[in-house]
């Protein structure tokens, strides 16, 4: 029993040698950084900085090249209008992508919600506010379905939403019978549906309610993501779901709430879409998923989840808007716009990857 006895004394013999060693568990190195490293570090700690810089730079360049036709209150607020729907959908996409998911069904949910708002008013004669509520309910239900499949059945979000995208879009066409509800009819009978098309003018600047909704939505979500427990949990789930679960985050409930909220936001986009188009058209929103993902990516949000700022998404959407309008005003073939957006996407992640090296 001599062995047990020696075990009973404190540490093993050789561990006594530790007494003279540094007492910290580990150390930090704080050497002088080169300017490049400082820049990397700054950009790393402010994830929305890169897209903001790109946005400002492109505004400046195009203002110089094109002049007043571009750099006018009218044109600049027009960009906001053109970006509003993508910005709202992008907010939904951001939430989902922060949880390391992806939502290909956002556009479909948006259109279905707007169709429900329209058809419930015109086909069944419900009062507009009730029809709008029904639209929101449908959006939330679609989002909930996505969330349920992802959280409960643990299916990959890409595949789930690839499936629900087709299902929801098909349901939309079947239900709407492809009928466009004309703007004139809406204006006459249910102007509330077009509410987001109203605007506030300040001189030549035109701010539609849709634009204001987008900005307010993004700011509110920014607050929620950064200053509430729910928001921190969104990041934690995307960062490492297993760790989040073990740390006491109810991952399933978080995923359900994130996808459902995303569905609700898509419904909001659907309402705003009626305001923008005037009419209810079941064929719109075909590219909303790709466009929102593009905004998120250019905005520097990681597709692997857990990193990035929703403000970045807004800047990303605006960058695309600025390029599109400016190139149109310059009069280049629209294909050049797509080409440039492709280059921007790849450029954005390249920079992002470069910045991320600092974390190593």
């Amino acid at each position: 029993m001599n062995e047990a006895a020696s075990g009973e004394g404190r540490a093993q013999e050789f561990e006594k040698a530790l007494e003279g060693s540094y007492s910290s568990v580990a150390r930090f190195e704080g050497y002088d950084r080169t300017p490049v490293e400082k820049l990397q570090h700054f950009l790393h700690s402010s994830p929305a900085a890169v897209p903001l810089i790109v946005l400002i730079a492109s505004l400046v360049v195009f203002a110089l090249v094109i002049g007043g036709r571009f750099f006018s209150p009218f044109s600049l607020t027009l960009i906001l209008q053109q970006v509003a729907i993508v910005g709202i959908i992008g907010a939904a996409q951001t939430l989902v992508i922060l949880t390391a998911g992806i939502d290909l069904s956002v556009g479909a949910i948006m259109v279905l919600s707007s169709v429900v708002m329209g058809q419930f008013t015109f086909r069944y004669g419900l009062p507009a506010p009730v029809a709008i509520l029904c639209g929101f309910a449908v959006g939330a239900a679609c989002g909930f379905l996505n969330g349920w499949l992802v959280a409960r059945l643990r299916l990959p979000p890409f595949i789930v939403t690839l499936g629900t995208w087709q299902i929801i879009l098909a349901a939309n066409f079947l239900y709407s019978a492809n009928e466009t509800i004309r703007a004139q009819d809406i204006e006459a009978n249910a102007p509330l549906l077009q509410w987001f098309g109203n605007n506030i003018r300040i001189g030549n600047a035109v701010f539609t309610y849709g634009v204001i909704a987008m900005v307010v939505l993004v700011l509110v979500l920014w607050y929620v993501l950064n200053h509430t427990a729910w928001g921190r949990h969104v990041y934690a789930v995307g960062d490492d779901p297993e760790a989040a679960k073990l740390s006491g985050v109810n991952v399933n409930r978080m995923l359900l709430s994130v996808y459902t909220l995303a569905g609700l936001i898509c419904a909001l986009a659907g309402w705003a879409l009626i305001g923008r188009l005037g009419s209810v058209s079941p064929t719109s929103g075909q590219f909303a998923n790709i466009e929102s993902i593009t905004a998120v990516v250019i905005g520097g949000i990681s597709l692997f989840g857990g990193r990035g700022s929703i403000l970045g998404m807004l800047f990303g959407a605006l960058i695309v808007g600025v390029f599109s309008l400016a190139l149109r005003l310059i009069g280049t073939d629209p294909q050049w716009t797509y080409l440039l957006i492709g280059v921007l996407i790849i450029g954005a992640v390249t920079v992002d990857q470069w910045i991320r090296k600092v974390a190593g």
Binding site: R69, S72, F74, S75, L78, Q81, Q82, F173, N178, T180, R182, A183, Q184, G197, R276, L277, G278, S279, S281, P282, T283, S284, G285, Q286, F287, S324, L325, R328, L329, G331, D333, P334, Q335
Partner: protein, 316 residues
Amino acid sequence: QEVGACLITKTDTNPFFVKMKEGAVAKAKELGVNLKTYAGKIDGDSESQVAAIESCIADGAKGILITASDTAGIVPSVKQARDAGILVIALDTPLEPADAADATFATDNLLAGELVGKWAAATLGDKAKDAKIAFLNLTPSQPTVDVLRDQGFMKGFGIDTKDINRIGDEDDPRIVGHDVTNGNEEGGRKAMENLLQKDPSINVVHTINEPAAAGAYEALKAVGMEKNVLIVSIDGGCPGVKNVEAGVIGATSQQYPLLMASLGIEAIKKFADTGEKPQATEGKDFVDTGVALVTAKPAEGVDSIDVQKGLELCWG
């Protein structure tokens, strides 16, 4: 000061729009109009067209020429442009309602459909009463061109169209079915294959345009049926007329996109100079740019021009 103008087409891949654009660009150069051109990503992409209209407003354009993808959905944007004092002319495809634009320069699409319908009926003669007809249409949202041509064909062929503003409410047993093609070859082939499966005895095919007709022909050829089926189409582009000559297409209603484009540019120039808006053709709610049936096998009682003439007038 230079006059600014915009041309917004459904796509920039359909040869019809490619030519329309070329014609407009040439005319604009001649008249000293500064023209910018835009297009949707695919036929049916209305949002890109909305964005294009807005850019034109921002750009201070005097006039907009548009071939609308979603003829009802685009109306509010058009109104916005007109409110900004811009002359908006619908080319090729009327808006819903047609007077949402200041003017429409287009083929009489109902007539275009009627012509090919009549020709098909006349060519079949007695067999027309047991014909099996496939309709290769455009997009699910039933834009005006699609409805006018589809229903026009029925009218010409002698089918009860029921509601003439709606495709698909007919109950004539000769109709095998309708399918959409997005107005391109790939869609044409797939739609034709699908309808052939539904009923392999199809012997008449109405196609929305010539790219769709080309796709349909490939599908028929693949199953060795190209000889037994009458394909009719609308467009009259040079490739299409050559296809008429080659017997691929039985007859096609020729449209004149270059005319639409040049008339459109002229109208904008005139509007910019004098503030005068174009007047519709007598008895119609649009400016008719004309249509002619091109066929190598003229049929009794249907006016047509021959391939030679068609080739002289064709575009693209």
